[in-house]
């Protein structure tokens, strides 16, 4: 299958290894990866912060970059949820019927990594090898907006050498919340402190998630505390081979 990669502005700019991992993983599985260079941001930060007008051109740009692809994969459950749940609403609110139609066609084709692998490609074992103790943090938007269910955990359980440990309070938010982390920094930090304590309590060597935004937040606190836990996006673990 020819699969377009929606890298997201955050991962593109700060976590290129995740994009490289998705590329090598999908190529290893026999698929062709396309990267539409016109892509930029899905507009989630602006939309969620109340900047509705500013979001419209970003939705338009997204539609222009990704129209015509049968499947689109993204390393962010949060951005996938933005496209699926809110792009149609933004287009409708802007009163642009053409855009609404275009977005309506694209939105259901956007998948987060585990959704693409498990639900679209029907895979659980992707032939990965990762000999570490791993805790999985299900991001809020993967859990409660995109509803990926146990797909990420099933994929992780099939990774050779990987020991998946139980993370207490896993479903609770890490406190990132986009601009919340800045606007309500004290509350955000208090939430993250509890998440980090839970992660450290598991004895995991690696914290995994399907969203680099959460990993950037929890990881930033882990390194500040000089904790011996590193962070890896799900795709990077799935791309690892002996």
């Amino acid at each position: 299958m020819r699969i377009a990669l929606f890298i997201t502005c955050l991962t593109d700019t700060l976590f290129p290894d995740t994009g490289k991992a998705i590329t090598s993983l999908l190529e290893r599985l026999g698929h062709e990866v396309a990267f539409p260079a016109g892509q930029a941001c899905c507009g989630q930060m602006h939309f969620n912060s109340g900047y509705r007008r500013e979001t419209v051109p970003m939705v338009r740009g997204f539609a222009r970059a990704f129209s015509g692809f049968e499947a689109i994969v993204t390393p962010s459950a949060s951005c996938a949820a933005m496209v699926r749940e809110y792009h149609p609403a933004v287009a409708a609110q802007a009163g642009d019927a053409g855009l609404a139609r275009e977005v309506g066609e694209i939105a259901p084709r956007v998948h987060e990594v585990s959704g693409l692998l498990v639900d679209v490609l029907g895979l659980v074992d992707v032939g990965a090898y990762f000999p570490y103790r791993v805790a999985y943090h299900p991001s809020c938007h993967s859990l409660r907006m995109l509803r990926v269910g146990d797909a990420p955990v099933r994929l992780l359980r099939a990774v050779r050498g990987l020991e998946l440990v139980d993370l207490p309070g896993a479903a609770e938010c890490c406190g990132f919340g986009g601009t919340f982390a800045i606007k309500n920094a004290a509350t955000s930090a208090a939430m993250c402190a509890d998440k980090v304590a839970a992660v450290r309590g598991t004895g995991a060597q690696v914290l995994c998630s399907a969203d680099n935004s959460c990993l950037m937040h929890v990881g930033g606190t882990l390194t500040r505390q000089r904790a011996d836990v590193s962070t890896r996006h799900l795709a990077e673990i799935l791309a690892s081979t002996p």
Binding site: L14, K20, G38, T55, F180, A181, A185, G220, T223
Partner: protein
């Protein structure tokens, strides 16, 4: 947040509706509150408060999950609750006039109040007419919203809260911090200290054993119940078909207030109406399990007008708008009017759990408060404009809401209202930054250029891969968290280098 936003903005949303922008009269108790982030930071510094809240919310959260899991048809019940409320709200005029007619037929009197001040004035004049100088109260969110106790005090009428937690709050000269458990921020030792300091007839040697605290409150209240001439309540539901009001409670104090005094005055928001008795069945299943994690609440009181020789001789129903019709005019925000005040969203909210209810500056705290308060009061004050941002949009509230209010959706919608209100100010720093970011982020080419600039800045950061300090406003991040340093090349540069350029 914006100080420049005007009440014009609120009014423009509901032409012909009441001026909900008159926030000075709608919820008088909380004027001058700092914005949420500052109030939250203060609350976070209170270790006792955080322990009390974490213990209480995690306990009730687990119990609720158990009570809900018992019902195989919970999602259908939830859908039914939503559908009944949506239908009623869409035909509110019909059901409210029907309710008025039935209550009147049954010997009650119905009053219409456009705002808090009007409701308080109606209640005060009704109490004055009885000659009483004190009233006993059933726990009521609506009269918290209108600031009735303070309004009555100004008329030299003493209002005694009879719900145990409300009594603790009242005796402690405090504000409620939770919809269901107003004193959730207090532990039993603090409660004992409040009783010893403030309760005139407190037994000497009172310990902090819950049974002793409850007994002290019972003795204190019993005298008031038996002598009260006027009772004041809200209502959980009002049934249009029969003119029946319903109060759901745990302690039985409500039953006393509703039945013993000669005069009963109920202040009820117009969104509380239900079409028929059969609709109540759905809510009597949804509400107790969501709020107290009980299969059924201990006391459900219903009354229809007055009946000679049984209960109050005079009954007044005050139907309150106070911004509700304005919320109803908002196609996204109106879903907040489905709320049945169960407080399940507070108990699962990671923000509420850490900062408590006072930081929300409203009798309606937590996620539901963050969407109700700005709709009732407008988004003109710093606290009201900050409330829609008091959430990570994690969605836990939506998941547990028994009437499926999509709180994250409403929060984002109200953030849009806040930003629109700020557009009238020409030099708003955040808007300028967000505008610039939007210009960069809507073009792959411009994003690529920005990334090259970021990568070039690596030499300034050093080789650790982490940034420990950033300039304002990003120093709010680096105070407790490292930030990742930009990599040598972005993904798109790597792709162009390895996969032969753009497609």
């Amino acid at each position: 947040m914006s100080e420049q936003a005007t009440s014009e903005h609120r009014r423009s949303r509901a032409p012909g509706g009441p001026a909900a922008g008159d926030s000075a009269t709608s919820m008088p108790t909380y004027i001058g509150m700092p914005a949420f982030p500052a109030a939250a930071a203060t609350a976070l510094g209170n270790a006792q408060l955080r322990r009390n809240l974490a213990h209480a919310t995690s306990t009730i959260r687990l119990k609720r999950a158990g009570a809900v899991a018992e019902l195989a048809d919970w999602q259908q019940l939830r859908a039914a609750g939503k559908a009944i409320k949506d239908h009623t709200l869409a035909h509110l005029d019909t059901y409210l006039t029907r309710l008025e007619a039935r209550v009147t037929d049954a010997g009650g009197h119905v009053h219409w109040a456009q705002d808090a001040a009007e409701a308080n004035e109606i209640v005060a004049s009704l109490v004055r007419a009885t000659g009483a100088d004190s009233v006993v109260k059933v726990k009521s969110m609506t009269t918290q919203e209108t600031g009735l106790n303070e309004a009555l005090a100004a008329e030299r009428i003493t209002a005694l809260e009879t719900d145990l937690a409300e009594l603790i709050v009242q005796l402690g000269h405090d504000q409620p911090s939770h919809i269901l458990v107003p004193a959730i921020h207090r532990n039993r030792t603090e409660i004992r200290d409040i009783f010893l300091a403030e309760m005139a007839d407190v037994p000497s040697g009172l310990t902090d054993a819950p049974v002793e605290l409850a007994a002290a409150a019972r003795t204190h209240l019993r005298r008031a119940f038996l002598s009260a001439k006027v009772g004041i309540s809200g209502a959980n539901f009002a049934i249009a078909d029969t003119g029946t009001l319903v109060v759901v409670e745990s302690e039985g104090n409500g039953r006393m207030c509703l039945t013993l005094p000669d005069t009963l005055i109920s202040v009820v928001g117009i969104e509380k109406v239900l079409p028929a008795w059969r609709d109540l069945e759905v809510f009597l299943a949804l509400l107790p399990r969501s709020s107290t994690a009980e299969r059924m609440n201990p006391y459900t009181s219903t009354w229809t007008g007055v009946r000679p020789g049984d209960g109050p001789r005079e009954f007044h129903l005050v139907l309150l708008d106070n911004g509700r019709t304005s919320a109803l005019a908002d196609t996204v925000g109106r879903q907040a009017l489905r709320c049945i005040r169960c407080s399940a969203c507070l108990n699962v909210c990671p923000v509420y759990e850490r900062v408590g209810g006072h930081a929300y500056g409203s009798p309606y705290p937590g996620p539901i408060g963050a969407i109700i308060t700005p709709q009732l009061r407008g988004v003109t004050s710093p606290i009201d404009a900050s409330l829609p941002y008091a959430s990570t949009l994690c969605g836990a509230c939506y998941e547990v809401c028994p009437v499926a209010i999509n709180i994250p959706e409403a929060l984002v919608h109200l953030r849009g209202e806040v930003v629109e209100a700020q557009r009238s100010s020409p030099l708003h720093a955040e808007r300028i930054v967000m505008g610039l970011a939007a210009w960069v982020l809507r073009s792959g080419r411009r994003l690529g250029l920005a990334q090259r600039a970021a990568s070039a800045s690596r030499v300034l950061i050093g080789r650790s891969g982490r940034i420990r300090r950033l300039p304002p406003p990003l120093n709010a991040w680096t105070k407790t968290r490292d930030a990742p340093a930009p990599p040598a090349e972005s993904f798109r540069v790597w792709w162009a280098r390895t996969h032969g350029g753009a497609q």
